[in-house]
Symmetry: C2
Subunit: 343 residues, 2 copies
């Protein structure tokens, strides 16, 4: 059998779009013969086989993948639905997905929902109609699980969970909330303000529960005036959240932001007010996006294994597409604390 | 005629994948009748037409877009080739492209070349074989113009130019180099170190020429020891470039980095060494990515109109796809200087 990869796509310097007809003409055989050689569908004498393959080597061969898709029911295309392309957390996951799937000869249709439920639905249907082989879903978290369940393709959820019927890759968000809070308590903090995104998202609710568990374990009484829900999750919201605490006269000696965007915003406010972290106000973020390392002072954060999450989700999806009987997979990774200047 | 959009994709809450057969069965007519109603291909009595359309209203209708693509030769899919998904400059352009094309009912196949020429070629051919309707090309700049010229689809280049035969959207990079340099000279700088990416990229060469023009106009002699080529263009490279100037004993009173990544890296080094910008070392970046505004101190930068570039490129591409006789379009925007804390 001829090299499998060459059959799919030629990457020669002079590659043009070469059809079976072009090859047949140059090799002086019938197009059906070329097809039989390339697809191994019928016996062809060694002589002719060699002649056809040497022409393929010379010209390259570019099958019409649309026509092929109709026959094979495969497009080698994966849909990726993502809430926000300007958020480095999602971008790092998408980047890892792209790198992994490129090696496996898949390309990705990237769809950005901008946290809009209608857009998410429209994209879901459009992707299925375009014949994607599988779907990686970083959803709005606004529970379209009844819609997802109807889609006739393998699906892997990333980060935000909806229902239990799908394969998924995520982190233990409760543990993340716990780790960040425990660290600040160990650093001497007594009144930790907790900034987080909307509590309708289970990720945020879980992080809050981790925060509460760490407080309880350390005998610190939970004070709801220290909890600020921020929406949208942006630098500005982080700034405004801490500014509001100050305006309301709420006392705090640390800030735990359940998103690095909020953490950076809060830190900018503290710097602006000359309340430099770590002293007197300590600060911890969440996600581990690059800016936390780059910012001066560098920001302590609860890190998510973003690359691993993207790669592993893509890997699980491909297994499902190949009907590899692994069954439903739900992988939950542990986040890890990265201690830097702000704590 | 029935509402055109509903024919293409149903976004009903309960939407499933509904075929012509499903509709025929429920409406108690032949599948060919449904097809005739939906495509207006043959007269159908008003009674039956109404009955079919009311079933379509009820069930939704999801045509097989792959089969349709074979007939119409259209996939409503646009290829986007981009060098680096973790660079906020490219991400902002891709984000603008996605938002614009979503409204026009196109989705995007996002391909990341990681500045690798082979990967770029492989992606180009794969995209064409997948039947994309058009290509937005943010290339490696490594001149695959002979390959691009062979592709049987409309193409718009963004940012990095190759050849003159394609439509394009870019900025006047020479002017950008000039503006940043002139600003630093006006702020009293005499020895401006210029950090830039590889000079094989025309964008960088143009920026260097702008730097030289500003020096010449102000009677400052060009000193090549102040020029540092950085590759890859990362935070680390920016740090190392300025560190090397110090180690080599090169005197400088300002840094102009022809990429915000390099500027942030250089600034981090200067902060680390307690050489705070703006005094005594002034600093200007290039691109206008979000971190320049967020960083403390905020970074002066030569800003590119990224959103406009992405939107306009997508708009030009759609016009070309519709054979709107606008001819080849080469749009060049002026960058603008955003003055912040570092200068």
């Amino acid at each position: 059998m001829h090299d499998g990869e060459k059959k799919i796509v030629s990457i020669k310097e002079n590659a043009d779009l070469v059809t079976i007809k072009d090859i047949a003409k140059k090799a002086n055989v019938a197009p059906s013969t070329v097809s039989n050689v390339l697809n191994n569908t019928k016996y062809v004498t060694e002589d002719i086989r060699e002649r056809v393959l040497s022409v393929v080597d010379e010209l390259g061969y570019s099958p019409n993948l649309i026509a092929r898709s109709l026959k094979t029911k495969q497009t080698n295309t994966i849909g990726v639905i993502v809430p926000d392309l300007t958020n480095a957390f999602f971008i790092e996951i998408v980047n890892a997905i792209e790198a992994y799937l490129y090696e496996k000869n898949y390309s990705i249709l990237v769809c950005c929902t901008r946290e809009n439920k209608q857009k998410e639905k429209k994209y879901l249907l459009s992707l299925v109609q375009k014949g994607i082989d599988g779907l990686l879903f970083l959803g709005t978290g606004l529970n379209p699980s009844h819609l997802l369940a109807k889609l006739p393709i393998p699906i892997v959820l990333i980060d935000r969970m909806i229902g239990n019927q799908f394969s998924s890759v995520s982190i233990d968000n409760e543990l993340g909330g716990y780790l960040g809070t425990k660290h600040l308590l160990e650093r001497g903090a007594k009144r930790i303000s907790f900034l987080l995104g909307p509590l309708v998202l289970k990720t945020n609710m879980d992080r809050l529960q981790g925060y509460q568990r760490a407080l309880a374990e350390n005998g610190v009484i939970y004070d709801s005036t220290l909890i600020v829900q921020c929406e949208p999750v942006t630098y500005e919201s982080g700034w405004e959240a801490v500014e509001k605490l100050d305006m309301d006269g709420v006392e705090y000696d640390a800030v735990f932001a359940a998103s690095d965007f909020l953490a950076v915003g809060a830190l900018r406010y503290l710097l602006h007010k000359n309340i430099r972290a770590p002293a007197p106000v300590k600060l911890v973020g969440f996600d581990g996006i690059p800016i936390t390392e780059i910012f001066t002072p560098a920001i302590t954060t609860v890190n998510q294994p973003k690359r691993k999450m993207g790669e592993r989700a893509a890997q699980i999806l491909i297994k499902m597409m190949k009907k590899d009987p692994e069954g439903r997979v739900n992988e939950v990774y542990e986040p890890n604390l990265i201690v830097r200047d702000t704590s």
